[in-house]
């Protein structure tokens, strides 16, 4: 009926995935991402897709592994504790060089934690999570519109680089409702000669595997994979720069923390403090270059996070500790207020 629709963040991911050609969803319900699974349960049977509620998160990620081997677009979604359960499977998918989308609508932790929003799975998402040397392309939406747009992008990047991608959201963005312009129908545009699609007696068998009996060969796959990662770090960094041109204080924040921070930056500007915001859209690859460039000009950085301070390590590394980096954070399901971020900006600017 209309161009725009009003959606929950979780629903926007589901619909965008369907529009990106995903017809295979495997999951297990967990608050606060359940609407995503519920949406898939309703839509997939009507469009000839598969929605399967597995008996556990571990089953779900291994079903993803299976479908990914055939080259089809496939996804799973969960929230923090469920994502921990999926880590072994994610490592296998990365080790077998397969594209897939994993969605984490984070909640407070550690342990069973709580059901309120969090960003405390940053280390898990960007530094591995599972075992072995690997990365995920990690995208961090800050609006319901981006939930949709970055879902489509995540499928494209996963296909292009033959690796799993993660949408790292939080409970608030998952639950909040905003108007969305849904992305157009799309699908995979790269060839997948490695996919298990049946030989038709015309080609040798393809083998999808993460087991290597010869260490020299395993080393070679690691080197090759990291060469690919290096290219991704060069070409696929995405971030938003907001009022940083003349900034004295640079806030670094992603997702819901960036929305709060944007309000704080505007409030600081009203007080005459030149504040700006770098909002990473990819947290792996991390936007090191813009932060390094700002390090020569600003008094310092404020890392705003819904965790005990995880991204702050990447901010410090990116600016080579040239300038102080302070932390403005809440944890366990709480969100920093614009006032708290403003206070941190004032402090970094040299007090009142």
């Amino acid at each position: 009926m209309s161009e725009k629709v009003l959606m929950k963040g979780n629903e926007a991911i589901a619909e965008a995935a369907i529009r990106a050609g995903c017809r295979h969803y495997f999951g297990y319900p967990i608050t606060p991402q359940t609407e995503l699974a519920a949406y898939m349960a309703k839509r997939m049977p009507r469009i000839g897709g598969v929605f399967l509620q597995a008996e556990s998160e571990i089953s779900a990620i291994n079903m993803v592994y299976g479908v990914a081997s055939t080259g089809k677009r496939v996804m799973t979604s969960s929230s923090s504790p469920g994502i921990s359960l999926k880590q072994e499977g994610i490592s296998y998918i990365a080790g077998a060089d397969l594209p897939a989308l994993i969605v984490n609508v984070e909640r407070g932790g550690p342990g069973l934690g709580g059901i309120q929003p969090s960003q405390a799975d940053y280390f898990q998402a960007t530094k591995g999570g599972g075992h072995g040397d690997y990365h995920l392309i990690v995208l961090t939406p800050a609006s319901v519109q981006e939930m949709a747009d970055l879902t489509a992008l995540a499928f494209d990047l996963a296909d292009q680089y033959r690796m799993p991608a993660m949408l790292l959201a939080d409970g608030t963005i998952g639950q909040m409702m905003e108007p969305v312009e849904l992305p157009a129908e799309s699908g995979c545009t790269v060839e997948k000669p490695w996919a298990l699609t049946g030989t038709g007696m015309k080609r040798p068998h393809n083998i999808v595997n993460s087991l290597y009996l010869v260490p020299e060969e395993l080393e070679k796959t690691n080197f090759e994979r990291f060469e690919r990662y290096r290219k991704i770090e060069e070409t696929e960094v995405r971030y938003e720069s907001f009022m940083t041109e003349d900034a004295d204080v640079a806030v670094v924040a992603f997702g819901i923390a960036a929305r709060v921070s944007k309000n704080a930056v505007l409030a600081a500007r009203k007080e005459g403090i030149k504040a700006g915001l770098i909002r990473p859209i990819t947290v792996w690859p991390f936007p090191k270059q813009p932060i390094a460039a700002l390090a020569d000009r600003v008094k310092g950085f404020v890392s705003v996070e819904l965790s005990m301070g995880q991204m702050i390590e990447d901010v410090k590394l990116a600016c080579s500790c040239k300038k102080p980096v302070s932390l403005c954070n809440r944890a366990g399901g709480m969100i920093p207020t614009p006032e708290a971020v403003l206070a941190a900006i004032r402090e970094m600017n040299g007090g009142n």
Partner: protein, 218 residues
């Protein structure tokens, strides 16, 4: 709209039931009626009528909510006071019900009391800008699913079509024909069209039910 003693707001999740329930309770209270608002949403973990508890309490509206609402306890349980609420003839009750059939399951246990008292309005809240209820036919499907699980028939329809903060009066008007179609399909009257008080001025006085919405910090 004639005021029944018990008013229930049901519909697809995200259709705006909580905002309607809160604003409707406030309107009844402003008319000087004794009002209780019960949050019986066992589905939605965030954004619920309990968020408005302070404002409601300050107006003298009794708020009955789930014992663990807005905490980390993801335990769907219903407070016993709801039974009393549907039977107490000295108070008006507004029920904020969870979305879809899953949310309406919670009503099943109160259905026999509500039907026996026979002084209720069961309102179907619809937003035609929600992706799964964009047409009257789709909205009707969700309606029937809700009725099937809670065993209470709908008595009216509330058109709450909106695009969140971006809503213009014209966006609401554009959905009028779809709302009329739904009324015809369901054989029910359109009880009200609800719009945010930010664009209520686009309509003649009294034509719409203005909603005062909570402000978000981000």
């Amino acid at each position: 709209m004639e005021t029944k003693r018990v008013t229930l707001f049901c519909g697809h999740y995200g259709s705006g039931k909580t905002n309607l329930a809160v604003n409707y309770a406030m309107r009844l209270r402003a008319q000087g009626l004794p009002v209780s608002l019960a949050d019986v949403d066992i589905v939605n973990p965030y954004f619920r009528s309990k968020d408005s508890e302070e404002a409601l309490a300050s107006m003298g509206i009794e708020v009955i909510s789930l014992p663990f609402a807005n905490t980390n306890v993801d335990l769907p349980s219903l407070p016993s006071e709801v039974y009393g609420l549907v039977e107490r003839r000295d108070r008006y009750a507004v029920l904020d019900v969870g979305g879809d059939d899953r949310g309406a399951y919670a009503l099943g246990r109160f259905a026999s009391y509500i039907l026996r008292e026979n002084d209720f309005e069961m309102l179907y809240v619809v937003n035609f800008y929600r992706p799964l209820t964009q047409t009257a036919a789709e909205a009707l499907e969700v309606m029937r699913e809700i009725e099937a699980v809670c065993a209470i028939p709908f008595t009216g329809i509330v058109n709450n079509s909106n695009l969140g903060d971006e809503t213009k009066g014209a966006d609401v008007r554009k959905t009028d024909p779809e709302a009329q179609k739904l009324c015809a399909l369901a054989g029910l009257p359109l009880k009200m069209t609800a719009v945010s008080d930010r664009c209520a001025a686009d309509f003649p006085p009294g034509a719409v039910f203005p909603l005062h919405l909570q402000k978000k910090p981000f």
